[in-house]
Symmetry: C3
């Protein structure tokens, strides 16, 4: 019962996080209001849409629950009026982007498990769910995709996915495992950016 509520909360959290992240990136590139809403929308639903399309769960999620679209439009509009944060765009963008990453990675893995897929596939699915929204945002704005930047990104999703599996295999409840995973992904990503942490690249 409260499981489902938490799951909805996770989905809303990821949606708002990525919508803010998309809207800020679009504002930063001086798109007009409708353009800001479109980029916020694509960023927020991109990962989940890819997940649903790959699983064949269509019409995809945001088509069936119109509340998601409303939430994104509201979030993007509110973001456009929050001028006082414009100066701190980089930190805010990073924070929301990392939060969305955590939310959606967890949701993606959980849905893969509901389809009875192999653990490795679930982690791959979670990573694509988490990363694709940001990637499509960057591609549409013609930025270098965040996934390509020096700091940990896809790596954090994969490590977060492994943690989620580890926690559930030692019988930690799904919502607790989810929250721990989100905190883990957020923390590691922020630390990675702050201290310029990176995995060794022995092959370069």
């Amino acid at each position: 019962m409260w499981f489902d509520h938490l799951s909805v909360l996770f989905d809303m959290g990821g949606t708002v996080s990525f919508a803010v992240s998309g809207a800020l990136a679009a504002i930063n590139r001086r798109l007009d209001p409708f353009g800001v809403i479109v980029i916020a929308f694509v960023t927020a639903v991109g990962g989940g849409t890819l997940r649903d399309v790959l699983l064949g769960d269509t019409p995809v999620g945001w088509m069936r629950y119109e509340g998601i679209t409303l939430l994104i439009v509201l979030t993007a509009t509110v973001t456009m009026f929050m001028k006082r944060y414009v100066e701190r765009l980089r930190i805010t963008l990073l924070l929301f982007d990392s939060l969305g990453l955590g939310f959606f990675t967890t949701i993606g893995i959980e849905k893969g498990m509901a389809y009875g897929l192999h653990p490795g596939i679930c982690i791959a699915l979670g990573t694509m769910t988490g990363c694709f929204g940001g990637v499509i945002r960057d591609v549409l704005l013609n930025d270098v995709p965040v996934i390509f930047q020096r700091e940990l990104y896809a790596s954090v999703c994969i490590m977060g996915g492994l943690l989620y599996y580890l926690l559930k295999s030692v019988a930690v409840l799904a919502p607790v495992a989810g929250i721990l995973t989100i905190v883990f992904i957020l923390t590691v990503r922020l630390l990675a950016v702050r201290y310029k942490l990176a995995l060794p690249k022995w092959y370069v």
Copy 2:
């Protein structure tokens, strides 16, 4: 009866418009003949393919009606032989791109309604149907996506979608509403480019 014929005409109009737009952009970037055909094809079917995939209506449209592929190959080939227009590429490109935008936005909304989706979702679907062909063309040619440029683009789709809904809600016949919407999108986009119209960006 004549509704269906007009719908097919709309689809062909959008396909030809976007195929020309894609072929011209590819010619402009000096791709070889097969490359021109590939870009024309992706530009023309990109939006409808995304729409069908998101709705789960597979195999997607162009796979079931091979005439569409033939039409695109013919259009791209004819475009390659129309040397006399090479000097006027920018205006022609803009005109065909705007026409395709109008055709496909209308078709996308109509198909969303056939699936019984919420009006807001239908407009979002129409916008994605209209914009995605051009976006994928720009991404493949490594241009800055048109959606990101200063003039109205996605905005025009959304406004056109709202108009289409308004017209149908006051009992205007579908084909009439469609033609008015296409004319509206074409006019607004051309005016926007000509007079550099843009929505206010109070948040910049």
Copy 3:
């Protein structure tokens, strides 16, 4: 019987080829180990995933056969340890990319035929299957897509597809036709790059 084995071999050949091609491109752009694995994965499964999604054959292939993911992770890891090839990246990248192109074009056409699609559609499907993995790799790494470069690329797929059809229409066995097509695509692409062969562009 041995047909199916050869088909699996083709699929594995294409997967390994594209995984190596993706891993090398990612190493070249100094991504971290997980980033290398992600790009290898997307490059290898991108084409087949697009094919399955467009056909509505979901959950897509790599979700049902977890061995593919394992194969890609292993290939990417081995590639990362093959330091001695780093100096010859360009030739190796080209070779593996061309091989993957041949494998996947053939598989794409074959699957389109299994769905009873029109020959022209099958060739289009094969071309998209072959090209999309490399395109998504280039887009994610913010390179100019290979499809856009001067040498033959999509053209080779389309010509290879026509050859495959021609061979099968004169009753050549599927695996023989497949091997001939792969050799044809590999040879033409390597010759095209070596001698800067290109189709005439009368419209430029």
